[in-house]
Amino acid sequence: MALLEVNNLDVRFAMRGGEVRALRDVSFTLERGERLGIVGESGAGKSVAAFTILNLIAKPGYIAGGEIKFDGEVLNTLKPKAMQSIRGNRISMIFQDPMMTLNPVLTIGEQMIECLKAHRRISRKDARAIALHKLNQVFIPSPEKRLDQYPHELSGGMRQRIIIAIALLLDPDIIVADEPTTALDVTIQAEIMELLLLLCEKHNVGLILITHDLGVVSQVTQRTLVMYAGRVIEQGPTREIINDAQHPYTQGLINALPQMATPGSRLNQIRGSMPTLTKIPAGCAFNPRCDFAANICLEKVPAFAHSGNCKVACHMVDAMVAGERWTPIITDANGNGATPTDSHRTEVNA
């Protein structure tokens, strides 16, 4: 049985104008020590998924259905106290912006020690020793001094190292990292990512890495989950997804990488933008932007189809594999081909 099992998760936000469905039918698993990447555009529900695992979605958000099973326990029905003893202890989290994540009026030491004391009966002195040890593990220079410093005295990269040290403080089973390098300098990004990978491997910690950087995903993770408009649309081994994406959206994402473009020509892009969660199109949410959309895509939400080791939620996957990519797909009432996307198609598949 997997360490973490998310089944048919449904998260909604009760807004004034009605309910907004942030996650629909999201399912995935994470084995002990496994590294899973969750990718998607902004607003796809990646962060909501991360916060939901820790049962930390803020009101008016709530879990409307599904379950999160961790080590045999169903997290979403746990009492607040029991959930609190899992957070930071067995599942910890790394946030996006290290400049905002540490409390500006408390010392680094205080913020580390309180975390240890929240989960273990431990003296301040012992807690400080553990904190120091963890700071050493993340290669912070003169860690003893850092414990008595305030966040504003440290650089962004240094702070993210400290946050990683805090996440590792209680030797968790899983770390959920929500875009841990987005707010950092490019040079620091690689350093931090390398450090995170190293520590996860060394301590056999499971990692859920949320990012929109496919390069990072391919370097760090073993499996990848692609999200679009609150749904998982493709999941499978990272290598297969990067090398042979099945879903048109994933293909588009990979084609959009700068290195995929012909030098001197425009970069590839997926036309249009992701729908807001209140205005998700009927059928497959990706259909307005999809070059392969057929009538069925406008009507029916695609179910997962197995394609090799991957699972893909796309009606057209078999057709695409069979090489029927160029037949007119959307037909009007008379059965004539009406593909409004010809001009873009050549660009995307160039």
């Binding site: 540490l102 409390n103 500006p104 309180e114």
Partner: protein, 348 residues
């Protein structure tokens, strides 16, 4: 730290200088001090002689320089009415005002933090809505009106006969809305002499009892202001990433609210609050007048009606000193609470 205090001292001197010039400049428009000092029997010629003797006919600059020279030696002149040094008169009235401000500040500090925090944590709770609604009223109603209403309700008492008193429900309602009154609303009550000019009402039941209504009415404007300020700041802080991170670390809510959030909330509150406590000294003029509280505010108002210029100038300078002191204290406290601020001279 020392450098910071010296800098503040120089500020204080500058503030004193400006205040003294302004208050001196308006003295000509405050009326004729002789009218208050002398009776009908004194003739205009005699008054003119007295004016000459008091130096009131000298040019403004001469008068100011004379005043400033004396002031530097600690002599702010004699009050025309009390026939005593103005500083002494002020010092005699200062304790009453300070005690009133202290009592009000205590009410504000003890109530605003818990109420503000509660309203921020549970914004949809009916109690929070009630506090927020009442606080709007508190801010909008002027102090003197609050004071008069308090006196009517709790000192004089009201009898309500809006409902038929021959029915049970009517008399119960009437009884519920009526108040007995009987609370003291005049003066300071029984005092205990502490030291020098300081007689305190803090140490007797009667003295404390007399403090209740004036302190509440003085607090009535600042308390809602503080509640709203703390609530707004706290709500903003609770949205921040470091609070979410603290929750993700598995820290208990109590510690998150009262350490992580409150400490950050208090930073702007201390800044605004410190200035407001200075302002409260000024608000005492209204409260003290309504409650005949023998403090500086009441004294100042009387000094104005008597054109008692040395006393007016002394009062204004005293208030200036209080402002400078409170602001300095606020900056010191702020520097202690906020690690990102370094006071001049504090080692890094």
């Amino acid at each position: 730290m020392i450098a910071f205090l010296i800098k503040r001292l120089m500020h204080a001197v500058l503030v004193m200088f400006v205040i003294s010039i302004i208050s001196f400049a308006i003295q000509d428009n405050l009326g004729d001090p002789l009218r208050e000092m002398t009776g009908q029997a004194v003739s205009e010629a005699q008054r003119e002689v007295m004016r000459d003797e008091m130096g009131l006919n000298d040019p403004f600059i001469t008068q100011y320089l004379r005043f400033a020279g004396n002031a530097l030696q600690g002599d702010l002149g004699n009050s025309y009415f009390y026939k005593q040094p103005a500083t002494e008169v002020i010092l005699k009235h200062l304790p009453a005002t300070l005690e009133l401000v202290m009592a009000s500040s205590l009410i504000i500090i003890l109530l605003s933090a818990p109420i503000g925090v509660f309203a921020a944590i549970r914004p949809r709770n009916w109690l929070s809505r009630l506090f927020m609604g009442t606080s709007i009223i508190g801010i909008s109603v002027p102090v003197f009106l609050t004071a008069i209403v308090l006196i009517q309700l709790f000192a004089i008492g009201v009898t309500v006969d809006w409902f038929p008193s021959d029915t049970t429900w009517g008399s119960v309602l009437n009884g519920m809305l009526s108040t007995d009154g009987g609370m003291p609303s005049y003066g300071r009550g029984e005092l205990v002499h502490v030291a020098g000019t300081w007689s305190s009402g803090f140490f007797t039941a009667d003295g404390l009892w007399h403090l209740v209504l004036p302190a509440i009415s003085l607090a009535s404007i600042m308390l809602p202001l503080f509640i709203r300020l703390i609530r707004a700041e706290m709500m903003e802080v609770l949205q921040s990433d470091y609070i979410k991170f603290a929750r993700a670390k598995g820290i208990g809510l109590k510690r998150i609210y009262f350490l992580h959030a409150l400490k950050n909330t208090m930073l702007p509150v201390i800044t605004v609050g410190g200035v407001q406590i200075g302002t409260m000294v000024a608000y005492t003029i209204l409260t003290e007048t309504v409650f005949q509280w023998p403090g500086m505010g009441l004294m100042f108002l009387e000094a104005i009606t008597r054109s008692d210029i040395p006393l007016i100038v002394a009062y204004l300078m005293m208030v200036g000193v209080i402002f400078v002191i409170t602001n300095t204290l606020v900056d010191l406290i702020y520097g202690l609470v906020n690690p990102t601020v370094k006071l001049a001279g504090k080692p890094a």
